[in-house]
Structure formats: C-alpha cells, structure tokens
C-alpha cells in the first residue's frame, strides 16, 4: 500500500513549493479547513491523516510502530518521498510539530521550513523544565483512558468501532469532521503525552516558526519559549488567540503569521 492511500493524502492548489499540513492528537486533516485554502493559490497544499485518524487505513495500525513519534515521522517521510517533495513548508499542529521536526532530521532537505503550532517536546514537568503536566496527572490520564471510552458514551463506542463497513454510524453519533478510532486515540494519547524529544530540538536545522497561543493548557507559553530557545534557527510568535487550536479559533491570525514567515 502506498503512503498516499494509507494516510488519506489530499493534494490541492498549485505552486512551486509545497506546504504540508499535519493535524495533531484529537482530530484529522479537517483541522486545517479554515487555514489551508488560503494557501492553495500559491502553494501545492498537502493534507493527510495520521494512521488511526480520519480517512486513514485503520487496518495497518501497528501498536509497536506507533508507540513512538518516530513511527509517525516515518510515515511523513514516506509521504514526502512519494510526492517528491523538496524544501517544502511543514505546518504541524500540536504533537505533529514534533513529528515534523523528527521527519526533518530523518530526511534532510525534505522540509525547508517548519511552522510549529502549539508545539511541546515534553508534556510532563521535569526538574526546571515546565511541561504543563505533572507525572501524576499524565498517569491519571492514561489510567482513566484504560477504563473509559473517552468522549463517546461507552455503549456507543463499540458500535463505532465494531462497524467498519458503516462509518456513517460513528459520524451520526458524534461528528462528521474529526473521526478517530477511540482505541487508537488512547494509544496515541499515551505516545503523545509520554514523549520527550527535547534532545532533538537543537539538531533541527530548518528555519522554524513557533506559534504560541495564550492560555493554552496543552502547551503553555513557557513550553513555546523553551522550543524557541532550543531551536537553532527559529522565531517565536505569541498569538492573541487563546486555547490550543488557533487554526480553528483564530484562522485569520494563523494564516497571517504563516504568510509572514514563508
């Protein structure tokens, strides 16, 4: 199977350079629906779903491979190679900011610049490092996920999962935009919230933009500042937008920031 099919890759727009949008934990490529169209006239816009999310092929989900962000980065590199990308702009939200950074290390030349929206190299506090969550909180999260079908009522979640032939069931019950397999989402949560990629940041050579929201409980401002300080060639932009998803809550501000950078 090609990476294009596996990751439900969509390519739109025209332009010399490509701009790859990667969604984070919790949604799919719909995350970029208010932002990506703004770049279609000047970029070859590439959208995709991580395996386990949206329209990706759930059957190839491999718990071992996706137990670390490196597995997701490998997929991203494969997509880049299949599309023949060189010096592309990578725009990654949340955990995908780090996945893009890892891919840029695995395949030098693939991305010329990285836009990181709400990045965090490590979510758990560690000594002087502020990640935003205590170890106990993440442990509580993982424990809770072990016993609960988070988000969807428990009786409905099996119906969503148990009817791969009728995805509309899940859509009707929940939504038509951010489809994620509940079980895979749990594993992705573990991978995301136990990751630590601080040591990779200083190796990133691509020029980078860190977009940091106010009042982001997932990636607080201190984390954005840390990322900026560790990346050798980066800019930090603190946004007026609040929360973790400025691409949805403040698409215009996000678009403007990206445009200024590229």
């Amino acid at each position: 199977m090609s990476a294009i099919e596996r990751n439900n890759v969509k390519v739109v727009g025209s332009g010399e350079r490509a701009m790859v949008f990667a969604h984070g934990f919790g949604c799919d490529q719909n995350m970029w629906r208010f932002v990506a169209p703004a770049f279609e006239d000047s970029f070859r816009v590439v959208l995709f779903d991580h395996v386990g999310a949206g329209g990706s092929d759930l059957s190839v989900y491999d718990p071992d491979k996706y137990a670390s962000l490196g597995g997701y980065a490998d997929d991203l590199v494969e997509i880049g190679h299949e599309l023949g990308l060189q010096g592309a702009v990578f725009v990654g939200h949340s955990v995908s900011a780090m996945i893009g950074a890892l891919a840029s290390l695995k395949a030098p030349g693939l991305f010329g610049s990285l836009v990181m929206v709400g990045p965090s190299p490590r979510y758990i506090d560690d000594g002087d490092y502020v990640g935003g969550f205590s170890e106990a909180q993440i442990e509580e999260l993982l424990q809770f996920l072990g016993d609960n079908h988070m988000g969807w009522s428990a009786a409905m979640a099996p119906a969503i999962m148990g009817n791969p032939d009728r995805p509309e069931l899940g859509e009707e019950l929940t939504n038509s935009f951010c489809r994620t397999d509940p079980e895979i989402a749990k594993a992705f949560a573990r991978t995301t919230f136990t990751s630590d990629n601080r040591a990779d940041l200083p190796k990133v050579t691509a020029r980078s933009l860190v977009l940091q929201c106010s009042e982001d409980i997932i990636a607080p401002t201190a984390v954005g500042e840390y990322v900026h300080s560790q990346l050798p060639n980066s800019e930090l932009k603190i946004m007026r937008a609040t929360g973790h998803c400025p691409n949805l809550s403040a698409p215009d501000e996000t678009i403007a920031a990206i445009r200024d950078f590229v």
Binding site: F177, C178, S249
Partner: protein
C-alpha cells in the same frame, strides 16, 4: 441552595409567568451553562451547581475546562473544542466533571454555539446530563458484550475443533480400553498364579518337612558311605524344594497375596546396606552409583521385599548390559498429583511418595516388550536364564504396598524403573516384628494345631512333638473350640488361616481370645488374602509363619512366642 419553588400561578391567558420560566431553567433535570467566547462561565443553573456542590456565584467567571478531570481537559481541548468550532455543536459527549470535594461526576454533554448575524460567536450553550447510573449500565453492558463475544468465540473454536476432539476422544477411549484389558489380564494371571502357588506351598511344606525329618533321622545314624549318600540326596531334595518355595513366593508377590510386614524404612540406609550385595550381583563390568536425595522422607514398605525388588532390578540391569555399563540407584521425594494419577489406570492415591529409581545404560526395550514386562514368566532372556518373575515381583510388591511403578525405556539408551513407595504418615513401630532370634529349643507346653490339610497337619504336629511339646489336633474351628473348652492350659494355638465349615482362622482366634484373654495364636497360610491380612499387610498384633516352613522355622517361631510376654 435550591431556591423555594415560585408561588405564582398561571395567568388566565395561559402565558408562563417569569417565575415559572426561571424555575424551568434553574431546576431543570439537567445542568445548563452559558460560556463566553473565551470559555469562561457566564451563567449557570442551580441544578448544575448542586450536582457539583458549588454556590452558583462561585462558578461565574471560571473556565468550563477547569471543571473537567485531567482526561476531560485534554480531550476537550484536543477533540471537542475543535469539533464545536467546526460543526457548531456536539452531542452526547461523555466526560467526567470533578465536584467541589474532588469526586468524579460522569456526565453527558451537549454543546451549541450561538452566533450573531456576522458569524461571531456570542456564547456557547452547554447542557449537562447526569450520567452516573447510565455509565454504570454501559459498563455492565460492555462487560456483558465482552463475555458474550468471548463465549461466542469459544463456541466457534469448539465447533472448529469438534472433529479433532472426537477423534482424540475415541483414541483415548481405545487406549483406556486397552489398558483395562491389560489390567484385567494381569488380575487374571494373578488369580491363577496365586491359586497355584497356594496349593504348591501346601505340597512344599509336606515335602520339605519330610526331607527335613529324613535329614534329622539320618544324622543320628552312625556314619557310613551309604548314609552320606542319603544325606547328599536329601540335601539336594531340600535345596530343590526351597528353590521351588522361592518361586512360589515370587508368584505370590506378583499376585499381591504375599504377607507383607511393612515397616518404617529409610530407603537411603537400606540401599547403602545393600550396596555390597548389589555390586557383587552386578559383577565387575558394571559400575554401581547411588545418588541419595537429601532430606529423604521415610517410606512404609516391607524391607526384605524392597531388597528383593532391588536385587531383581539389578539382575535385569546386569543382563541388559552384557558389555558392562553403569547402574544408578537414585532416591528422591516425589509428589504424585491428581493430574498424574488420573493418567494411570491402576488406583494410585495422589500424595507424597519416596521414589527409588534404578537406571541402567543397557540395550533398552521396545514399546511392545515394555507392555509385557510385568507379566509373570515373561522374559526376554534365553531359556533357563531367567524365571520371568523378577519384574512381576517388583510390580506386585510395590502395588501391594500402595505404591506405583513407572518404567521408561529407550532402545539403545537404557531403562529406568521408578518405584514410588508411600511416605510414612502414621506412627508405625520401627522395631522388627520378626526378630531373627532363632531358637530351636523345644518345650513341654500344650500346643493346639488347627489345620484341615492332613499332611501339613501331620508334619506340623510331628515337628512340635519331636521338640517335646504336647500337641492337640483339630481340623476345623469348631473342633478347636471344643478342645479349648476341655483343656485349660493350652499355651499356644497354631492355626491355618483358611479353614472349612464357615469359621476361618481369624474368627477362631478372636473367639478363643474372647474366651481366654491373652491366648497366643500363631497363623500360617499358603497365601493370606482375607482374614489375616488387610490389604496385604499383617495386622499389627498378629503372629504369622508363611508356608512352606521348615522344622527350624516352626521351632524358632513357637519358642519365641512362648517366651515373649
């Protein structure tokens, strides 16, 4: 606190008064919240505040997110806030709120964005349903579903393997039937050999007795070449008869009808005491090695029979190693569990055993030979080289002792025979029952002999009279009781176990001892299967002399009993 219900009534025109609307909002069966675009609480109803244990005013201005547990916060920010922004609403999302005292409150949450004409978000309406019970039902449902799935897949697997299972079951059944046939055959052979041996013992008693008498008479005559020839012939006859007696003893052992005198034994000590004899039996080309298990339990078995068994096994091992080799005798504690004994057709009790294993490096045996090795007279040795009774003695002895025999053999590799003897669990006297303090002195006491076999009776009475005793004879139990009635000073009764006319030796002894407490009774029999022996073991208080016996056997036994307290 919940406000008191509004007192206003419906107006005549049917419009709801404001109080009623407020009541509808505040005390609805669900929680209502209005969030400002920045996610902070702008308005909240009483129901929600009560559920969470807060004052309403204390909730105003707080972030909605902060009321969720950690998983809820993360999922809300990463899943449901985006969803709300994209589709303007979400429906029945399961989240956990945290009450003021820190306990979780499972809820279902609906959310709708209200926008102005320009598309700007005015506020977000959150509706919260208490899902405490529902979450529990869901969990039960999910568990039931999981159990049903498991049962269904188990059933599927069962069906898939049904054919294989039937084949397996039939094969198992055939194997069990074959084992049953084998066991019935062994039992039948046992009955036959036991019966034959019993009759032979009576005859041998007479023959040995007769030759014994000849020898004793001859010794009193003046020496001459003729007398010497008679003496040699008598010795040969006696030797032959004793060998015949050994054979019948082995037959009885196989038939599990030999009288056993089980004692508490320490197998390691018994083996080291036997090592010299075994090494001589094995010859110079076979190395004897003993591996003694540490902390070995004591076993309950007849020591002389165990020695016989070990000698028999050594003889077999030696014959299996004509070019020489190594014989290892190993001991260890063993536990035969339920699962193991279930695989054995013979009734073996699960529990603790002392294992004695004899391993040779000989030529081994094929499976079809293995199936027959315990049968009496089965031998792989050349005609005249073996009796075919060695392993059957081992088998009979161990089985009669409540133990178990296992044999492992590989052609070209060697053979291991494992004897499992029951561990001692009760206090059994360790003292030798049959002390070898053999006196041949006679005496003048009155002895009552009860024996239906005329020739045996004649021999026994003859021996006792020769030793100086006064002998009274009876052929049945009733006859013996009459004699006892008339004679007050009978010192000892010597009785056969099997007697005609409905009263056996044991019943007779009991009756006699009831009438005369402390009366000494000596039993004899060709085999002892019922009265005298329980499960092949001598009763602890019973004196016994097995047939065939010799002049000196009888003399020594009688004297030692008369001399004992």
């Amino acid at each position: 606190m919940r406000p008191s219900r509004p007192s206003a009534t419906l107006s005549d025109d049917g419009d709801l008064p404001d109080e009623d609307l407020e009541d509808l909002y505040e005390n609805a069966p669900c929680g209502y919240l209005s969030l400002r675009p920045d996610g902070r609480i702008h308005k909240v109803n009483q129901t929600f505040a009560t559920w969470l244990g807060y004052e309403k005013v204390g909730l105003i201005g707080r972030r909605w997110l902060d009321l969720l547990n950690i998983a809820g916060k993360i999922y809300y920010e990463t899943h449901f806030a985006p969803l709300l922004r994209m589709q303007g609403s979400f429906h029945e999302v399961a989240l956990d709120l945290v009450t003021q005292v820190g306990t979780p409150l499972p809820v279902l949450v609906n959310a709708n964005e209200r926008r102005d004409a320009a598309g700007q978000v005015l506020f977000t309406r959150i509706t919260v349903f208490n899902a405490k019970d529902r979450r529990r039902y869901e969990r039960d449902l999910r568990d039931a579903q999981a159990r049903a799935d498991k049962a269904a897949s188990a059933l599927q697997a069962l069906n898939a393997h049904l054919e294989a299972r039937v084949t397996e079951a039939v094969a198992e059944r055939l194997k069990a039937e074959e084992a049953l046939r084998q066991s019935q055959k062994m039992e039948a052979i046992g009955q036959l050999t036991g019966g034959v041996a019993h009759d032979f013992n009576n005859l041998l008693t007479v023959m040995i007795g007769g030759v014994d008498a000849i020898v004793r008479q001859v010794e009193r005559l003046p020496k001459s070449p003729e007398i010497a020839r008679i003496r040699r012939s008598a010795d040969m006859a006696l030797h032959g008869a004793r060998r015949a007696a050994t054979l019948t003893a082995r037959l009885l052992a196989f038939a599990r009808r030999q009288p056993l005198a089980p004692k508490v034994i320490e197998p390691n000590r018994l083996i080291s005491g036997l090592a010299d004899l075994l090494q001589r039996t094995l010859g110079e080309t076979v190395t004897l090695e003993t591996v003694s298990g540490a902390g070995l339990w004591r076993a309950l078995a007849d020591p002389s029979e165990l020695e016989n068994a070990l000698v028999n096994l050594c003889v077999n091992a030696r014959d299996a190693m004509p070019e020489g080799g190594r014989l290892t005798i190993e001991t260890s504690n063993a536990y035969l569990d339920e699962a193991y004994v279930a695989t054995i057709l013979e009734p073996v009790a699960p529990g603790q055993y002392v294992m004695v294993a004899v391993t040779d490096t000989g030529h081994g045996m094929t499976p079809d030979i293995l199936a027959q090795v315990f049968e009496p007279f089965f031998t792989t040795k050349e005609v005249g080289k073996g009796t075919g009774l060695g392993l059957s003695q081992v088998y009979g002895f161990v089985r009669q002792s409540g133990g178990h025999v296992r044999i492992y053999s590989e052609v070209g590799q060697g053979t291991t025979i494992k004897l499992y003897l029951p561990r001692v669990t009760e206090n059994v006297s360790e003292e030798a029952r049959d002390s070898p303090n053999r006196k041949v002195d006679g005496g003048g006491e009155i002895i009552l002999v009860v024996e239906d076999h005329e020739e045996v009776r004649a021999f026994s009475c003859g021996v006792l009279r020769e030793l100086g005793y006064q002998v009274l004879e009876a052929t049945t139990g009733r006859h013996a009781l009459e004699i006892l009635q008339r004679t007050s000073d009978v010192a000892l009764v010597f009785t056969d176990v099997v007697l005609p006319d409905g009263m056996d030796g044991r019943a007779l002894a009991e009756e006699m001892q009831r009438r005369r407490a402390g009366l000494k009774v000596l039993f004899t029999t060709g085999y002892t299967r019922n009265a005298i022996v329980h499960n092949g073991r001598l009763d602890a208080d019973v004196e016994f002399l097995g047939k065939p016996f010799t002049f000196s056997d009888l003399a020594a036994k009688v004297r030692s009993m008369l001399d004992s307290e």
